[in-house]
């Protein structure tokens, strides 16, 4: 059959790509084959626009057990154990149906982790939305948060951290990125491989319905009215089914009856079948007639492209079928034999014995199109990077600016969000959400893991290269604050339409910067996910390359939190403050601007700072640590007081910035700065250590009293009751939702 243009367009394939398919097959594809190519060659599965850039990322290291290419990455955490982790996006589904979109996003990443033989022990999520003033945005936020809670709470994996940010660019295109980490024996990591001709292929989990057909191609198309037609039946998550699958699969993995296993995520049965085959250099043959179906009259095309959730594909050793079936039966799951491994390296799909698709695996994986898309420096940059403070008129006086920033949703307490998440189940959570990086202990060892996801999209927008470096620095600094040595990272690259040279330029520069920073800080990237086409009616979200960093804490008894510990502690500022206001939260909140040049970043200093933090935590010298991010030093000091009932007084030297001097000094966002507290008698020791480490450090005040007091060169600029500031900060986000409650 020759395809007319509408058919190709509906399948997100270009004429050139179609011709390539014909050439590869040496014939016209069947309709089922066309569907298979369309999902496997979609941006989401093929990484056709991003691959050439991703290749440049550092993915190896002393501790790396599994880099990119499997369902998740893995790093060695000692004592024979591995941390298996990955982040993935579910942006588009979450916009269409916030609750289910977010819920199935959680379900998907959890499967990626236990597919590797690891027991998931922690979830984080990185979220971006439009302004909370907008009722529709509030509805989306409520739905997404409830969906994450509904799935994670039910399956019993604690959500120990994450981030949530607000900017108008996300109004029509929210970002929902979910990170999951699991623990396995280092030598028991399981691969998504099909091998051994004649080995049976099993399907287990939920029945296949028409849900999410072309979800993968949709995740590769921007939003516009036309999407309405493209809209697939929304996928509904079943956390109970996933919990059964999780336990049953981990039990099966204890036997040696398993050859390989893979979840059916994006592109469902199609993706798992050909990926497992190609990883094992084998072929896989299945008959769709054997696939459990939820709806009647489903075509092979629909069955192969369905994105029904909670399904797994297994290759089992011949002769061991019963061991596997018995375990699934125990969990009231029925593993169904749907095919076998072959030697011909092809994906062969039959329908009641009749071949409906036969494609060499490489055509769908390694030989899928790869594009070196044209790039061009965006026109907006020249103007946006120009920032003249004089043109801004009068700055806010410090005490008003502090109040405004504490109440700004990007800064305010996220308690409204994380109190809906079970963050304690499994009794490993040493640092709960809101206290810095999430920290979970690893019961099998005496160690703990610090986890953080971060990205400041404004910085990336104003300088993709440096912005991505700052994201790496912030995420790893956060785990270092908790006492964790950064040992691995995953990333989720959320950008606009890669066919626009200016977006592609943002992407390329960001990946470049990310790679450079990870090399300098010695943090291998073991996997991740790319989400492109994050645009609504032609306008893109802020470029948002989210970093998820894993930090190793050698001694679980030596974990450091955000909050000051007791009155009399000396407050030390590590790092150097410069007159840097570009891209700051202050400019955004007070002047409504995303402007200027992001803060400078010296990666060697950053590395030295992080080493110092880890050392100071391990020795017990550092009592609390909180990094300076949105809102700068003043916000960091205030937040270090919250939840403690302890006030603080600091005095810092003023920076030179004309009549913006106070603002820049207190609210500037210079990088590589951390506020720590130490026992008074140990302050000198820390300052000496810092000097030795080459980290600028200064004692700037003391903990105590019922107020937050800040002065510049001895001149008092802020003196506010702690309770008052804490109230502003802790109730701001809640207040947006008072009126509206989710209906479930």
């Amino acid at each position: 059959m020759t395809m007319d243009d509408q058919v190709l367009e509906r399948h997100g394939l270009t004429r050139d790509e179609y011709n390539r398919i014909v050439e590869m097959l040496g014939r016209e594809p069947t309709f089922t084959e066309l569907g298979i190519f369309s999902v496997m060659w979609s941006e989401h599965c093929s990484y056709k626009s991003s691959r050439v850039h991703l290749k440049t990322l550092p993915t190896t290291g002393r501790r790396v057990l599994q880099g990119p290419g499997e369902n998740a990455g893995a790093v060695d955490i000692g004592d024979g154990y591995a941390a298996v982790f990955k982040i993935e996006s579910h942006n588009h589904p979450s916009f269409i149906e916030p609750y289910q979109g977010a819920a199935t996003g959680v379900g998907g990443i959890i499967r990626d982790i236990f597919t590797m033989g690891a027991r998931p022990i922690a979830l984080l999520n990185s979220l971006r939305f439009g302004s909370l003033e907008d009722p529709l945005v509030r509805r989306t936020v409520s739905g997404v948060v409830a969906g994450i809670a509904g799935y994670g709470n039910s399956i019993g994996i604690p959500t120990v951290g994450g981030e949530i940010g607000f900017d108008d660019s996300y109004t029509g295109n929210p970002l929902v990125n979910v990170f999951c980490l699991g623990i396995s024996r280092a030598d028991d990591i399981i691969k998504g491989t099909a091998s051994g001709a004649g080995n049976p292929v099993y399907y287990v989990g939920a029945k296949t319905g028409r849900d999410g057909i072309h979800g993968a191609t949709m995740a590769s198309a921007e939003f516009d009215e036309k999407l309405e037609e493209k809209r697939p039946a929304v996928q509904v998550g079943d956390p109970f089914m996933e919990k059964l699958l999780l336990e049953a699969c981990l039990e099966v993995m204890q036997t040696d009856a398993l050859v390989g296993i893979q979840d059916m995520g994006a592109a469902g049965l199609t993706c798992s079948t050909c990926e497992m085959g190609s990883r094992g250099g084998a072929g896989v043959e299945i008959d769709v007639a054997n696939v459990p179906q939820r709806e009647t009259g489903m075509t092979p095309y629909e069955i192969m492209l369905s994105e029904s959730q909670e399904r797994m594909l297994l290759v089992v050793k011949k002769g061991r079928e019963h061991d596997v079936e018995r375990i699934f039966e125990k969990w009231d799951l029925h593993a169904v034999h749907i095919g076998q491994v072959t030697t011909d390296g092809k994906m062969r799909v039959k329908d009641r014995g009749e071949v409906v698709a036969e494609i060499p695996n490489p055509c769908l994986t390694d030989e899928a199109p790869v594009y070196r898309r044209p790039m061009q420096e965006p026109a907006y940059l020249r103007e946006a990077r120009r920032l003249s403070l004089d043109s801004l008129g009068q700055p806010l006086v410090a005490r008003d600016a502090l109040r405004a920033l504490l109440a700004a949703p990007n800064v305010a307490s996220k308690r409204w969000v994380y109190r809906q998440y079970d963050h304690m189940v499994r009794t490993n959570t040493l640092v709960v959400p809101g206290m810095g990086a999430g920290v979970v202990r690893v019961k099998e060892t005496h160690r703990a893991l610090a986890l953080s996801t971060d990205c400041n999209g404004r910085f990336v927008y104003l300088d993709p290269y440096r912005g991505a470096q700052l994201a790496v620095a912030e995420a790893s600094r956060n785990v270092a604050c908790a006492g964790g040595l950064p040992i691995g990272a995953t990333n989720c690259l959320n950008f606009g339409n890669p066919q626009k040279p200016e977006i592609m330029w943002q992407f390329a520069k960001a990946v470049e910067g990310m790679g450079a920073a990870c090399r300098a800080l010695d943090i291998p990237i073991t996997g991740g996910n790319v989400s492109l086409y994050n645009e609504t009616d032609g306008s893109a979200v802020l470029p948002t390359p989210v970093l998820g960093v894993v930090g190793l804490i050698e001694n679980a008894d030596r974990v450091v939190r955000r909050a000051f510990r007791e009155a009399g502690e000396v407050i030390v500022l590590l790092g150097e403050s410069r007159a840097e206001l570009g891209g700051s939260e202050y400019l955004h909140v007070v002047h409504g601007l995303i402007r200027g040049v992001p803060p400078a970043l010296d990666l060697e200093r950053e590395a030295a700072l992080q080493r110092l933090l880890v050392e100071g935590a391990a020795s017990g010298l550092i009592r609390s640590a909180h990094d300076c991010a949105e809102g700068g030093l003043a916000i960091t000091i205030a937040e270090s007081c919250f939840d403690t009932g302890l006030g603080a007084s600091i005095d810092v030297p003023g920076l030179e910035a004309g009549h913006f001097g106070d603002v820049v000094t207190l609210f500037g966002e210079s990088a590589s700065r951390v506020v720590v507290s130490v026992r008074a008698q140990q302050a000198a020791e820390l300052l000496a250590l810092a000097r030795k480490a080459g980290v600028p450090a200064a004692a700037i005040g003391t903990v105590g009293g019922g107020a937050v007091r800040m002065s510049i060169d001895g001149r008092s600029v802020i003196d506010a009751p702690l309770v008052e500031l804490e109230h502003l900060w802790s109730t701001s986000i809640e207040s947006f939702f008072e009126k509206q409650r989710a209906i479930a």
Binding site: N153, I155, G156, F240, Y418, Q420, Y421, R426, T427, A742
Partner: protein, 237 residues
């Protein structure tokens, strides 16, 4: 002393209860699959938290039909101590082993946070080691912990001193503000008439080590050791 921790499909605090009994308390503990028909000679039975059967339909509604529940009923009827935590409490309610039912939290949201509960009665196997009026800092994690029963039932509970835990302030005052879910009379936990079956919404098993934020929950497990070693609530083995 041997703890049996029942595992329903969808239980997810089973390992936490097991860990508390086995590793923190240093006692024997065994996970018992819901299709089993024997409690394997346990002295104490714990129905753990989680989402049995996904909490579909109603919390605990389907779990009560699990084969093991007949054995749990028999064990309880013989005076054996049974503790239902969160979802386990909900199962006990649905099974009719404790009176009342759970409604959605009045906030209509899941709530996970530390709360304070006041120990109202110490003559149960799970509060025997508590001081009367003792205030415990224990986390909750539920969306349906809003305890309800008909007025006469509540009166009977109060009259029989079957309300064992109440949500309270840090100083032990029972106030509306201290009530996280809308439960009648700030009820956080109750017992049956023979006082050997106790259910509560907060998670004592999550509060057994200071490292995870509180060790206040351990006293419930220590209580049952004390109670049983004193021969009270002899198990129904």
């Amino acid at each position: 002393m041997k703890f049996a921790v029942v595992v329903f499909p969808g239980s997810n605090c089973d390992h936490d209860a097991y860990y508390a009994a086995q590793h923190v308390l240093g006692q024997d503990a065994e996970l018992i699959w819901h299709k089993d028909t024997s409690l394997k000679g346990a002295d104490v039975v714990v129905l753990p938290g989680g989402f049995a059967h996904g909490d579909y339909l109603r919390t605990g509604a389907i779990a009560r039909f699990s084969p093991i529940m007949q054995e749990v009923q028999r064990f309880a009827a013989g005076g054996g101590p049974v503790l239902g935590i969160c979802n386990g409490f909900q199962v006990l309610l649905e099974a009719g082993m404790l009176p009342g039912a759970m409604l959605r939290n009045t906030v209509l949201q899941f709530r996970c946070e530390h709360v304070y509960v006041r120990v109202e009665q110490t003559d149960t196997p799970f509060t025997a080691a508590c001081a009367p009026g003792q205030v415990l800092r224990i986390p909750i994690a539920h969306g349906e912990g809003n305890y309800y029963a008909e007025p006469d039932v509540v009166d009977r509970l109060e009259h029989n001193r079957q309300v064992i835990f109440r949500y309270a302030t840090v100083s032990g005052d029972v106030t509306p503000a201290a009530n996280p879910n809308g439960s009648l009379n700030n009820i956080a936990g109750i017992c049956n008439e023979t006082r050997n079956v106790v259910g509560l919404m907060p998670h004592p098993e999550r509060a057994c080590e200071l490292a995870v934020g509180s060790a206040d929950g351990l006293v419930l497990f220590e209580s049952v050791l004390k109670a049983l070693s004193h021969g009270a609530f002899a198990s129904a083995r």
